[in-house]
């Protein structure tokens, strides 16, 4: 049998020989999604943010311990009244086209980003002036002290303040950019970009890394491969097969149910690069009965429990942990205050609250996205738990994109609206009360769900103004206690997403976002 097959194998080997091989060291990555939009300011899509980290740089960045560190900035100082911030850029920073990075470029970039991002908008609302007195100096003048200047400039997650050349940053914030010149450690090869197939980056030979060791998104960003290819493989099983066969070096986000298959192979390693991971949440729409009554929402907090939720979607407890804090467990603002007796499926208490609220049996419309494995099982578990507490629940199944459109509707649930849906976000997106979009309770200006609570907004503003870390923590706890009284959403626990890679790949960094500098492949 073996002898008969040999000529066939030989023919295939000849075919393989006819295939050209790329010169230099290439890192082949199966990313979590296809890169469709190349402008990381225009969209909040995570894959576009990852693309941004490849080719752009940031003024500040979070290290592996989520501490803010200067990145493009060499030094910074604040005036005694904390109203003037002066940032000096590192010497020798250059765009991919060879021209120098200037303070004017950065000012234009901050303005464009500030027009799109919620934290950026908040920061710019405190800014009286943003100027570039010389090529390396950025001067930010505030109307009143703002406690989150550095955290905002270093923010990871959705909508990162990436620096772009002035000519690019002057693009209308509502339109996508078409020039992808950055100053980051890799250069985007637009001529090799094939949407739905692959994205190619090459090492930026002129990149000037910081002298410090790399840590998270901060420190020396040294590209250790000549080329990085993101190969979009839509099918999860095929991603795993490609890794097992050595056709890719890294799978960014292998599904949890396939992890045992990977763990069993001696050539594959798993690594949790993002310890805080992601957080699940149930979002309320407060516009309609019965969720217009905070007591009914409080009853939901008593009825649900995180363990059942997490087990239904993640499965193996190795990859999830219960966390009653609104802000990620393991982060500086972690606290269980106000939630000690909640999220334990206390149906007796939940029923009592529903009775107190005068719940009349109105069915709760819960939107269920059925096409995302990481979310689809949450809705049936929610239904089961809420029904045990005495609520009527109508789970409506749809694909995620339909859900995205539907959640933007304010109509009554009986006319195409909704009461609740389930989602997840990166823990780094909810590090504090200002960054957490679901805590925005500014009524019509709030995100879908439209919570409206002056006290919550007052506390969030107080947090933003506070510059002392200890006092910020106190305010964050007050925010959490207020959220217990006026629930905007329910946190449903944390999970981690390991990256899978072949032995021979080294240097993947822990941090708030996946990074491909420092990674070597043998």
């Amino acid at each position: 049998m073996a002898l008969r097959l040999r000529p066939f194998a030989l023919a295939l080997a000849v075919l393989a020989g006819l295939t050209g091989a790329a010169a230099g060291k290439t890192l082949r990555v199966a990313p979590h999604s296809d890169l469709k939009i190349l402008d990381p300011i225009w969209t909040t899509a995570l894959i576009s943010v990852n693309h941004g980290y490849m080719i752009y740089d940031t003024l500040f960045a979070l290290d592996a311990r989520l501490a803010v560190k200067p990145q493009m900035v060499e030094r910074y100082e604040t005036s005694p009244d904390k109203l003037t911030w002066t940032f000096t850029l590192r010497d020798g920073l250059a765009w991919h086209d060879g021209s120098s990075v200037t303070a004017e470029d950065c000012v234009a970039s901050l303005k464009r980003w500030g027009a799109r991002d919620t934290m950026g908008q908040k920061l710019l609302s405190y800014v009286a002036g943003l100027a570039a007195p010389d090529a390396r100096t950025i001067r930010m003048t505030l109307r009143e002290p703002y406690g989150l200047v550095l955290q905002t400039l270093a923010k990871p997650g959705a909508s990162v303040p990436f620096m772009m050349p002035k000519r690019v940053a002057e693009t209308d914030p509502g339109k996508q950019i078409t020039d992808f010149t950055g100053s980051g450690p890799f250069i985007f090869k637009s001529d090799e970009w094939r949407p739905g197939e692959k994205v190619v980056y090459v090492k930026n030979p002129k990149y000037k890394p910081r002298a410090e060791a790399p840590s998270g998104l901060a420190g020396g960003k040294i590209a250790k491969v000549d080329r990085v290819e993101w190969l979009w493989i839509a099918d999860a099983q095929t991603q795993v097969n490609a890794l097992l066969a050595g056709e890719v070096d890294i799978i960014e986000a292998p599904p949890h149910d396939l992890l045992p298959l990977l763990a069993a192979d001696k050539n594959i390693e798993l690594f949790v690069w993002n310890a805080p991971g992601r957080q699940y949440a149930l979002r309320f729409n407060v516009l309609h009965k019965p969720f217009d009554n905070p007591k009914v929402r409080q009853a939901v907090a008593y009825a649900l429990n995180q363990k059942d939720m997490l087990a239904s979607v993640i499965g193996d407890p190795e990859w999830f942990s219960e966390c009653k804090s609104l802000f990620p467990c393991g982060s500086p603002l972690e606290s269980a205050k106000g939630f000690e007796d909640k999220l334990d499926s206390n149906f007796v208490k939940a029923r009592a609250l529903l009775q107190e609220a005068g719940y009349d049996g109105t069915p709760i419309v819960v939107l269920q996205s059925t096409d995302l494995v990481s979310l689809s099982n949450l809705a049936p578990v929610t239904k089961s738990l809420l029904e045990k507490a005495g609520l009527k629940v109508d789970v409506q199944a749809m694909d995620w994109q339909t859900l995205v459109s539907r959640r933007a509707k304010k109509d009554p649930p009986s006319a195409g609206g909704w009461h609740a849906f389930l989602t997840s976000w990166a823990s780094v997106d909810v590090l504090d009360p200002v960054a957490t979009g679901f805590l925005n309770a500014s009524c019509d200006k709030a995100m879908f769900g439209w919570p409206c609570d002056a006290e919550l907004e007052r506390l969030r503003d107080a947090f933003a103004r506070e510059t002392d870390a200890a006092k910020q923590k106190q305010i964050a706890e007050a925010v959490q206690l207020r959220e217990v009284e006026y629930p905007t959403h329910i946190q449903l626990g944390q999970y981690t997403q390991p990256v899978a890679f072949r032995k021979g790949v080294t240097g993947i960094l822990s941090g708030p976002s996946i990074a491909f500098w420092n990674v070597e492949v043998k």
Binding site: L12, I233, Q401
Partner: protein
């Protein structure tokens, strides 16, 4: 004949117009808002409305339709809502993988299925016939992705002969092109082998009872000639129909195989566009698929006249 072809081509225009209207209306009636998808998780109502305005989605539906139709008549399919590329560019980049996969599949299927079908007909009722028909039933019954994963496991992971996934354009090297086409083509060919073999068997069995077959044998023709020159030629019309429909189905409907083998073809483009509610792309690819169906049907009708000189239009 030329007049017939021209008449059929002229009839294509109203068909395409009806398809255009239906596709446009159905998309607008489908739940989902591309503006909300583009805006992302942190967007508020104002931002979503601004995107809707920029995409022209806040115009009355008739205005949107006539703008699109006008552009279409000028050969402009529009720009994808998501990729900063024209729909024409997107389709052009996906055409080669789909055509290569479809043609390779059909060639493999015809080369295997037609002789098998003829053999099964010739050996009707014997063990060979039962084996061929058993394989046909299996080919229909086993889902394509199961065949794909099984072939990947055997030939790519265990034997390491062929790549697991991916597509290499023919311009980037013939070796890699063929190497990456083998497994997906065989995977897809299984169901078409089953279909064409059954159709061939049934058609040839019908023909084998005809008088002219008896005459051919009486003239002393070899069985091979009787089967392939006399029987198969006369049984070819239904086989050509199945092969033609097969090509049309392959061009628009190989989503699962494209996903399992990561082939960036039109099927995946369509699914991605539908999931993202990328209206310009969906509209263009569905129009393209409709055109392919119409043209392949025409080609099959023309092929009848070659295969059977008695047919005249």
């Amino acid at each position: 004949m030329i007049g017939y072809i021209l008449r059929r081509l002229a009839a294509t225009a109203p068909v395409m117009l009806i398809v255009a209207v239906l596709v446009f209306l159905m998309l607008r009636l489908t739940p989902g808002d591309p503006a909300a998808i583009i805006a992302g998780d942190n967007a508020n109502a104002e931002q979503i409305a601004a995107i809707r305005n920029r995409l022209g989605l806040d115009e009355p539906i008739f205005t949107q339709f006539f703008i699109w139709l006008g552009n279409l008549l000028r050969g402009d399919f529009g720009e994808s809502f998501f990729f900063k590329k024209t729909v024409g560019e997107l389709i052009a980049s996906r055409l080669e993988p789909t055509l290569a996969l479809s043609l390779a599949t059909i060639v493999i299927a015809v080369l295997i299925a037609v002789p098998l079908g003829v053999l099964a007909a010739y050996k009707q009722g014997t063990l060979i016939d039962k084996i061929v028909m058993g394989f046909s039933v299996l080919g229909f019954s086993v889902p394509v992705f199961v065949i794909g994963y099984a072939l990947i496991y055997l030939f790519a992971i265990k034997l390491n002969w062929l790549p697991v996934q991916g597509y290499q354009r023919i311009g980037d090297g013939l070796g890699g092109f063929l190497q990456r086409l083998i497994l997906p083509s065989i995977t897809l060919a299984v169901i078409y082998v089953a279909l064409i073999a059954r159709m061939t068997r049934a058609s040839v069995i019908d023909v084998l009872h005809e008088d002219y077959i008896r005459t051919a044998r009486a003239k002393g023709q070899t069985e091979l000639k009787v089967l392939f020159k006399h029987a198969l030629k006369n049984a070819a019309v239904p086989i050509a129909t199945v092969v033609g429909l097969g090509i049309a189905l392959l061009i628009g409907g190989v989503v699962v195989t494209e996903s399992v083998f990561t082939i960036p073809g039109l099927g995946r483009l369509t699914v991605d566009a539908v999931l993202a509610r990328d209206y310009p792309t969906i509209q263009a690819v569905i129009l393209l698929f409709s055109l392919v169906y119409v043209l392949i049907n025409l080609a099959v009708d023309v092929a009848y006249t070659v295969l059977d000189p008695r047919i005249r239009y």
